[in-house]
Each structure stands twice: as C-alpha cells, then as structure tokens.
C-alpha cells in the first residue's frame, strides 16, 4: 500500500489502495449509444401500435413484458456499460434476477385465490 506522504497513484494495480483506486477510463465511442436510443424509441412506438391493433389478452401482456425486458437489457448493457464490465460483476447483477422470475411465478399461483377475498 502507498505511503501517505507520497502522492497516491489511483490507477496502480500493484500497490492497490481501495479508498482511491479506480481503473483507467476508456471511451467506447458514441455510435452504440445512439443505436440503443433508436432501439428504445422503436420498441416504445411498437408498444403503442400493438396496444391499439392487438386485442387485449394475457398473450399480449406477455409480449409487452418481453419488449420491456429487451429495452431493459439494452439500457443495462449499453447505457450502463455492463457489457464492458468483468464477468463476475455481470453475473452478480444478472443472476439474482431469478428471484424476480420466482416472485412472478409465485404470484401467478397465489393471486388466483384473491378473487375469494372481498377488497
């Protein structure tokens, strides 16, 4: 660890000081970011068109949620740069989402009993 009287090299991987250490930043350009913008815009327009052209059904809801997940994936991987992060960080963020899938499955089963409650 660096001695405190000498200036700390914030990018030093050999003499690592966790309070200041930060990896060297690299720009990945703006082309991919604009592509993500157009994808998000197109999917949102598709949402609104589907709402008015497709009769309501559970299948349509699943389609809306699927399009939402696609939009979320573009935001996380492109805007939030997750695609450029370490594999371990990617897995730490993406894998726990299984709990949300579990919650949905749980509620689909349990909520059918809510019809018997008067609220």
């Amino acid at each position: 660890m660096s001695h405190h009287n000498t200036p700390v090299d914030i990018h030093d991987e050999e003499n690592y000081d966790p309070t200041v250490w930060v990896p060297k930043a690299h720009s990945h350009g703006t082309k991919g970011l604009w592509k993500t913008f157009w994808v998000l815009l197109a999917l949102t327009i598709a949402d609104v068109i589907l709402y008015f052209t497709m009769p309501p059904s559970m299948g349509r809801n699943v389609l809306f949620i699927f399009l939402g997940v696609v939009k979320a994936a573009f935001i996380v991987y492109s805007f939030m740069h997750l695609t450029f992060e370490h594999k371990g960080l990617k897995m730490s963020i993406v894998l726990p989402m299984i709990f949300v899938v579990y919650l949905i499955a749980f509620m689909l089963k349990e909520a059918s009993f809510w019809n018997y409650l008067n609220w």
């Binding site: 913008f37 309501p56 939402g68 509620m107």
Partner: protein, 260 residues
C-alpha cells in the same frame, strides 16, 4: 517485503479488486440491484391486484372506440353531461368498481387542448426520459475523455430533461386528481387502481427527483473542477448508473400502468 504487502496471486486473496471495479461503483451496482427488487415487488404486486379484477368488456370498448375516435374534442362532446367525459363513462358502465379501467380512457389528455389523445402524453414522457438518458451517457463518455466542457453541457441537458419529466408527471397527477382520483376513491374503477397508480408513479417520481438533485451536485462539482483535479470523472459514471436505472424502471411502469 513491507508489512503491508499482501498476496496478489489469487483473485480473492486481497490486494486487488476482484471485479476490476472501484469500491463506489460496485456498491452503486449492488444498491441498484436491491432497488430493482423493490420495484419488482411493487410492479408484480400491481399485476396481481390488477388481475384479481376482470378487464373492461371488449365489445363495450369497441363501441367506445367507434363513438369517440382518436382526436375527438371530448370537452365539447360532453359539455352538457354531468361530470363530462368521466361522468359519461361512469353512466355507461365503462368505468365501474367491478372491473379494471382500460388505460386508454384514463390517460387520454394532452396539454393545450381537450382532444382525445390516448397514451400520447405518456409516450412523450417516455421519449423525454430516454433522451435524458442519452445526454447522461454522453456526459459519462465525455468524462472518460476528460473533456470538462462537454461533461458540463451534457449534465446540464440531463438536468433539464429530468425537470421536464417531473413537470409532465406533475401535470398528469393534477389532471388525474382533478377528475376525482384519490388514494381512497376514484371514478375510474376499483379503489386500488388510483391508489397503486399514485404509490408506484410517486415512488418512481421521487427517484427521478433525487436523481435530478444528485445530477445538480455532480454538475456543480464538474464546474468547480473537482473531478479534473481528482484525475477521473467516475462520479459522473456512478450517478449515470442511477439515472439510467430510473429510466429502466420507467420502462416497466409504462408497461404495467399504461399498456396492461
């Protein structure tokens, strides 16, 4: 060998960052993961309550769409009906406590006129938030190239976008409340419809508000040259993560409240 020397041979033995990421950024990611769970609970809970009620009858909805096509001046059309457009829908049984209202008949206002423009205003709000996400990520990118002036410009645009979104939400809430929507009652359908709308869009809106406040702090620090002196603009990236997350949540609020 100094006393502080630690093994750097193994990933998890200390002495280096296992994920090659700074402490602050890692914690921001984990915070956002926990916040994702919070919003998932709210939205999945909304879905469960929503589908413990039937939807509006489709034949009835077809009739409404024929009678009131896109662009109808609803103010003029229901001038002499008590309660106007909403009152008419209640009289016709299109809005009733027994079924969930179709979002196109609830969210059909647009500033500046009384025309029936279903879902157009919320689409505009979505566009504003996506655009502010783009300016945010451009600020992050400029920071990676240490371009102070560009960071300042894009942070300012992001803050303006945030205020525009909050203004839109305030306008929409005002309209909604003015039509009789409260936490304990609403003319559109089940009590939980408006209650959950206020709870979830309010919780998201408060995230946007805190995001704008944090962005203003980062903007001021950028102007003062704090990050220039520090040698990196990672604070911009960290606040950017939060801002993009708020945009991500809006994607699902839009899906659940305005489409489903």
């Amino acid at each position: 060998m100094s006393n502080n020397a630690v093994s750097t041979t193994s990933t998890w033995a200390g002495g280096k960052s296992p994920f090659k990421v700074s402490y602050g950024k890692l914690m921001m990611w984990f915070f956002l993961l926990s916040d994702a769970f919070t919003f998932s609970s709210l939205l999945v809970g909304y879905g469960a309550v929503r589908y413990s009620f039937p939807s509006a009858d489709e034949a009835m909805m077809e009739q409404v769409r024929q009678d009131i096509p896109f662009g109808t001046d609803v103010h003029h059309m229901f001038e002499h009906t008590e309660g106007g457009f909403v009152g008419h829908m209640v009289n016709e049984g299109v809005f009733a406590e027994t079924h969930w209202p179709a979002p196109e008949l609830v969210f059909n206002h647009f500033p500046g006129h009384h025309l029936h423009w279903p879902l157009m205003f919320v689409s505009l709000m979505t566009l504003i938030l996506i655009l502010s996400s783009v300016t945010m990520v451009l600020a992050v990118e400029a920071g990676q190239r240490m371009e102070k002036k560009k960071v300042e410009l894009y942070m300012l645009l992001t803050i303006i976008g945030g205020f525009m979104f909050l203004g839109c939400q305030a306008w929409e809430w005002t309209k909604f409340i003015g039509e009789g929507a409260k936490l304990y009652t609403n003319p559109f359908g089940p009590v939980t419809f408006a209650a959950l709308f206020f709870l979830v869009t309010g919780f998201h809106g408060f995230h946007v508000l805190s995001g704008v406040v944090i962005n203003i702090v980062i903007y001021i620090n950028t102007i003062l040259g704090t990050y220039e002196k520090r040698g990196h603009y990672e604070m911009v990236e960290k606040t950017g993560l939060y801002w993009h997350f708020v945009d991500l949540v809006w994607v699902f609020v839009f899906t659940f409240f305005y489409l489903i």
